[in-house]
Symmetry: C2
Subunit: 149 residues, 2 copies
């Protein structure tokens, strides 16, 4: 699957979401979607704002926040708060479900996958009679002084 096809899919999902919820399909919304899916890792609103300015696209921060909320609502974007006051975001469609290790000294963020999370999720749903929509798991730590043997 090429990147172009992927983007097409994502655009369709967003388009369908907007339609089903009586929101208008404005060029700003699709331009923002495209810029976000151009990111590889995490980004914050300010960085996205600058990125679009550099691409000569005129958007207001208000519209960015507004559109990101819509994208979160249709699961195309995920929001993170790595302990800071600055919200971080990342695309979530067709990127493998993953969680994060944050190195508190360097600020580095490592991604990982562990299937046991899904088992815990199933237990929680059963135990508390809830439907889990999504989760976030962060491990905070530091690099070991001793090298891996």
């Amino acid at each position: 699957m090429s990147n172009t096809e992927l983007k097409g899919t994502v655009k369709d999902i967003f388009s369908a979401y907007l339609e089903q919820n009586g929101h208008r399909k404005t060029p700003e919304r699709f331009a923002i979607l495209a810029e976000i899916y151009d990111y590889e890792g995490h980004f914050d609103v300010e960085s996205l704002y600058v990125k679009m300015k550099n691409h000569n696209y005129r958007v207001s921060r208000a519209t960015l926040y507004n559109t990101i909320d819509l994208l979160i609502a249709c699961n195309l974007v995920r929001k993170h708060q790595f302990g800071k006051n600055l919200a971080q975001f990342e695309k979530s469609h067709s990127s493998k479900q993953h969680d994060h290790v944050i190195l508190t000294d360097s600020g580095e963020v490592i991604e990982f996958c562990d299937p046991r999370i899904q088992q815990i999720k199933a237990t929680i749903e059963e135990l508390f009679n809830v439907d889990i929509n999504h989760h976030s798991l962060y491990f905070y730590g530091t690099k070991k002084a001793t090298p891996k043997k």
Copy 2:
């Protein structure tokens, strides 16, 4: 173990931490520690501020933030960001390690424990050669419409 003894222990831990790090043992710091350990669940800075005002203790918000940072540094307090911009805190000493389920419709927070987290933690430490200091796991969901059978 009585609550009084527990508080004594906590006070000693904080006292030792302050001493070892060249911080002064001010009455404000211990008063704030006591108020925080009087909470059962989560709290935010504003609520703590009001609580201390009501107990006729005069503190500034600046001191609250400052002291909470110290308490986090010696693992007596944990910080949470339940997706909001408002930081939430809770005492962490001798309260069983637990994680949270957030019901996104009602805002209710449920606590749970699952030993599999520790297994995942061990895997992560080995895999990435890191020391994990702590973690946070949040499940976001809603109550099931159908009642438990």
